[in-house]
Amino acid sequence: MAADAGAGSRDIPTATEELFELPEELAIDTDVARRVMVGFIRNQLHQAGFSRALIGLSGGIDSALVAFLVAEAIGPEELLCVMMPYKTSSAESVGDARLVVEELGANSEIVEISRIVDGYFGDGDEPGDGGKSARGASQLRRGNFMARARMCVLYDRSVPWSGLVVGTGNKTEALIGYTTLFGDSACAFNPIGDLYKSQVRQVAAAIGVPEAIIRKAPSADLWPGQTDEVEAGFTYPELDRLLFWMIDKRRSDEELIVMGFNEAAIARVKRLVAVSEFKRQVPPVAKLGPRTTGVDYLYPRRRPGSARR
């Protein structure tokens, strides 16, 4: 993380050095990034004819950063933070989420999803409506279900709140597919989806996200003790650097090995990226008619007349 870039170049911020590890090549100008993301949020809402937004606030750094950005863009009074814990969610998560809400002075609601989830999978000896197949469901199935239950709650709450759901997924997790399709990835727009986790941390530190949230180990909190880095087998700085050189800077496997990346890690990350391609794209439609949406019917999402009246 040395800041000894060539003479005449800009100083790479180092004040946050102790809070987290920031690979040098991933350092961005946080003022410019904030400017673009805040403008993007305003623009997306304005073009769609909305003045309010809502997010699922987990207590983690990604949704905390988005909360800060939305508050900066439209004011905290226009933001609704929905906290949606399951009964095994860590108490720390809800506590950290509350910290963000208090810091910003935003609106908040708690909607527990325990009964929704247990109603399907069952609770203890009590069978759920999902029947036998649901009873012995894996943690993965349950985790995905929870992510989608939160999506349902969020989209339902968007109606009385009269706001758009803002996405909180980062570039790292999108690229390796560490998301639930139509679950946590569902949103109207996403201001931080082109920031690697390390860059999320950098902007979060600059914008004033509480230190406790920046410091703690990232977790999907889908089961007790789960952490992203243990599950993935990489630390975020390692993974971010590899993805950056592989994808943004188009380095070949051979070049990556020369740079010091582990061959097995390269192969594994490449496979994760390839196998999750479907999560990053709109579902394909069989081409039949003369003009097909997404193929040869191509309009800007925000074309004239597209805004809600």
Binding site: A5, S9, R10, I12, P13, E25, A27, I28, D29, D31, V32, A33, R35, V36, G39, F40, N43, Y297, L298, Y299, P300, R301, R302, R303, P304
Partner: protein, 315 residues
């Protein structure tokens, strides 16, 4: 000599909202006139917005469209450069920049280079222009007008300067990207453009006027940072990044003469040399010289025979 006052309209057009954008051009012309401008420059596709996709055909105007004529009337007494989707008689669509002077559309430049890579997809929706000409202006000098990507090709500013331009005007919708902290102003795109514009102004010993839009279309943010660069390569004015604004900049056209007397690069250009070598390169690229080369006895037994033979033939 009275300085020329340039008004840079660093604005954010509304995507696809032709009427709104025309109205805003009218307002801006009025403000520029009130500010004493002699030359008003609007960004690329300022009348339509940039990421049009299939909307392009819906906002297209012919160069003789009465709405453009109306803007020309409004600009009378000034020189105005504004950009729109032009529909030709044969219904090809172009990204065009028009010079409006003395109540009429005096000249239209059709974008020559249509980026279709990375985040760009212009060639899918537009035809490329095929004329590169300067235009005599009421300002007393010839203007060279180009659109955005045109200036990522060296031949464009060079040709315009050789054709007599003393002010090179580039209108752009440049999307900001490459946010690394190592770049000047934190934005790779801005750093690249600044390097190019200073270089072109210096090498052509011309004024360079760059007007880039701001605001967002869909996912991309346009970074603004419009500039006026002197024939010495020094920036006379740099507009803020991302903020909309109408900026007035005064220049001394006499600086072109001073620079060209002191640094006679244009005098020393060798267009005939360039042309000769370009002809050779083209011939080699298209294998047009192969027949000539095959007559040479040296061609068969030397690996570079073809080329060596051609070089003899052509010199």
């Amino acid at each position: 000599m009275k300085p020329l006052r340039i008004a840079l309209a660093q604005m954010a057009p509304v995507l696809g909202a032709l009427d709104d954008n025309i109205a805003r051009h009218h307002d801006t012309l009025e403000a520029a006139r009130a500010g004493g401008a002699g030359l008003v420059v609007f960004p690329e596709l300022g009348l339509t917005g940039y990421q049009l996709q299939d909307l392009a055909a819906e906002v297209a105007m012919r160069a003789d469209d009465p709405r453009l004529a109306g803007l020309a009337v409004a600009a009378d007494g000034m020189s105005a450069v504004m950009s729109f989707v032009e529909e030709a008689d044969d219904h090809r669509l172009f990204i065009s920049a028009a010079l409006l002077e003395e109540g009429e559309v005096r000249f239209v430049h059709r974008k020559l280079f249509l980026p279709t890579y990375g985040l760009f997809d212009e060639r899918r929706f537009f035809a490329a222009g095929d004329r590169l000409r300067t235009v005599e202006s009421r300002l007393g000098v010839r203007l060279g007008i180009a659109v955005c990507e045109d200036f990522w090709h060296l031949a464009v500013p060079e040709t315009l300067a050789l054709d007599g331009a003393q002010i090179l005007i580039n209108v752009s919708s440049s999307p900001g990207r490459d946010l690394a902290a190592i770049h000047e102003v934190g934005l790779g795109t801005a750093a690249s453009w600044r390097t190019l514009m200073r270089t072109y102004a210096q090498l052509t010993t011309s004024f360079l006027v760059f007007c880039n839009r701001v605001g967002m279309d869909e996912t991309v943010s346009f970074w603004g940072g419009s500039e006026v660069i002197a024939p010495s390569g020094e920036a006379v004015f740099t507009a803020p990044l991302f903020d909309a604004g109408l900026h007035f900049v005064d220049i001394e056209l006499g600086d072109v003469r001073r620079e060209r007397i002191g640094l006679p690069l244009l005098r020393d250009e060798r267009p005939e040399l360039h042309l000769r070598e370009l002809r050779r390169i083209l011939a080699e690229r298209t294998d047009m010289a192969i027949d000539q080369a095959s007559e040479s006895p040296a061609a068969d037994d030397r690996p570079n025979g073809d080329r060596a033979a051609r070089e003899r033939e052509l010199t």
